[in-house]
């Protein structure tokens, strides 16, 4: 290894100058943040309605009371999230692969898959849940599953459509030269998809996929309109009992805590994917 290089006077001067400037920027940022923060606090707590809002939204007593019920509701959110996310991802991947099949013989399959993604990205999720959880049981078919399963199905089918488009974008973003190389090695279309295209596609779209999963985490609670009690519903019930909004705040905090690990994973995956992706195409 070479000996450590000692900087010249010129370089030392430049380093000192940049350091001074950096320190000044940080101090300025801190000062302006402090000023802004103070302004906000003053504006909020000094406003005439502040006391009312504080008791309505930040009541410690009620927060403690409603916490167990909201937490229990959150457990439903978590269970639904895990199951629906997995199924929606699987469905989305399947539909995306169908949409990228080439050749005229597959036209009907492609058309149906396309129709599905258009339809379920268009219909509002609430309506789909209503149709599934209130409409299907109305048909009185043998072996109709419970409203939780039906609501979950509505979520899977709707989110599957969005995820299908994300996956499709990923698949189509894999450079055709990768396909050429894989086919040249004698890999069949299916093998090419499985070993070359999909691994790359999925890594590329991991960030938007995870983003959609975070969104799903919140939409999962909509099954509560069919009867089951999720965290938001539990908060709503507690709110109505006391005419106080604090339970909603409790629910919000819990949701954020739930989302944090997911968000951390998203960021980590994004970084790792970006590192690997640009090797000699």
């Amino acid at each position: 290894m070479t000996a450590l290089h000692t900087p010249s006077d010129v370089e030392r001067g430049r380093i000192a100058y940049r350091r001074r400037r950096a320190v000044r920027s940080v101090l300025l940022a801190a000062a302006s943040t402090a000023v802004l923060g103070t302004l906000l606090v003053v504006a909020v707590t000094g406003s005439p309605g502040w006391d009312r809002v504080r008791t309505s939204f930040f009541n410690a007593e009620i927060a403690k009371e409603s916490f167990p019920a909201v937490l229990e509701g959150l457990w439903l959110n978590i269970r639904m999230l895990v199951v629906c996310a997995v199924l929606a991802l699987a469905l989305g991947l399947f539909i995306a692969v169908l949409r990228t099949l080439r050749g005229p013989v597959f036209f009907p399959v492609r058309a149906m898959a396309t129709l599905y993604t258009y339809a379920f990205r268009g219909i509002p999720l609430i309506i789909v849940i209503y149709l599934f959880a209130f409409g299907i049981p109305g048909l009185r078919l043998q072996g109709t599953p419970g409203v939780l399963v039906l609501g979950g199905a509505a979520l899977v089918v709707t989110y599957g459509a969005y995820l299908a488009e994300v996956f499709r974008a990923g698949i189509e973003s894999v450079h055709p030269s990768q396909l050429a190389a894989a086919r040249s090695l004698g890999l069949t279309y299916r093998q090419t998809m499985r070993h070359v295209v999909l691994p790359q596609a999925v890594r590329r779209v991991a960030p938007p996929l995870l983003n959609d999963t975070v969104a799903l985490q919140k939409d999962v609670g909509l099954v509560s309109l069919a009867g089951p009690i999720d965290a938001v519903r539990a908060a709503q019930i507690a709110t109505a009992e006391n005419f106080n909004y604090t339970p909603y705040l409790v629910a919000a905090v819990l949701f954020v805590l739930l989302a944090l690990p997911l968000i951390a994973v998203t960021d980590w995956v994004t970084l790792r994917a970006a590192r690997r992706q640009n090797a000699g195409t």
Partner: protein, 246 residues
């Protein structure tokens, strides 16, 4: 005759890229394709490899008409190895993974056997220490050599090389050309499209000059590159000489 291209025609929309082109390659022969961009070199290679469907004419490999629609292209491609200008290594797999993918999945060899063979090749080309690295850690020349190994490890009857040194820095070109020369000395049949005229002169048994989708001139390197008959060939070569590549 290992490979026979008979009056092949290929169009892309209004453009006729291969126009009634015929070419014959004997076993153990090395044929160099030269010509301007758009003269059809890459397209010809892709047609031989069935990555493109010909619009007319036939291609015969080992006596079998591979342009017959009843032929399974995947099966044909197992006998041909192709290497591309931009290496096209799979970025999500290690070097070893890249090389062993086809042997295990396509040729159904055992994983251990495939790995052994792969390491043999990597050692031969001096890249054994990169076996577990990902492609983004290798230089261009190293990646291209891995790409060549990846194609070779399947024992192809024929190797197609599409301007494999064009994307490389000049000092990395040498290591790839050395490897190709070694392949030739082992008797591999190769068709290579190239701009490296000096290399073509050393390695090729025949040089074929393509112009406007047709074979304009073909013959031994000394003749086509040293003393071409066609004026168009002369024109092309003089420009190459000017660019200092001959």
């Amino acid at each position: 005759m290992l490979l026979s291209v008979d009056r092949v025609r290929k169009v892309f929309g209004p453009a006729v890229v291969l126009d009634d082109l015929s070419l014959a390659v004997d076993e153990h022969q090395v044929v160099a394709l030269i010509g301007a961009s758009g003269s059809g070199k890459s397209t010809l290679l892709r047609c031989v490899n069935l990555l493109e469907r010909v619009d007319d004419g036939t291609i015969t490999l080992d006596g079998e008409d591979i342009t017959d629609p009843r032929v399974d292209p995947d099966v044909v491609r197992r006998r041909i190895g192709m290497v591309f200008q931009s290496y096209n290594l799979f970025p999500h797999m290690t070097v070893l993974g890249n090389i062993t993918l086809a042997p295990t999945r396509v040729h159904k060899r055992a994983a251990a056997e495939a790995r052994e063979k792969a390491m043999e090749w990597l050692t031969r080309v001096g890249l054994a220490d990169k076996a577990d690295s990902y492609p983004d850690r290798l230089s261009g020349g190293q990646q291209q050599r891995v790409a060549i190994v990846r194609a070779l490890v399947n024992n192809p009857r024929l190797m197609l090389l599409d301007e494999v040194t064009s994307a490389l820095d000049p000092e990395l070109v040498g290591e790839v050309l050395t490897m190709i020369r070694d392949l030739k000395s082992e008797g591999m049949t190769m068709v290579l499209a190239t701009h490296e005229m000096g290399f073509a002169r050393q390695v090729a048994d025949r040089v074929v000059f393509l112009d406007g989708g047709r074979v304009l001139e073909a013959g031994p390197p000394a003749q086509v590159l040293g003393d071409p008959v066609e004026p168009r060939t002369r024109q092309f070569l003089s420009r190459i000489i000017e660019a200092g590549r001959l």
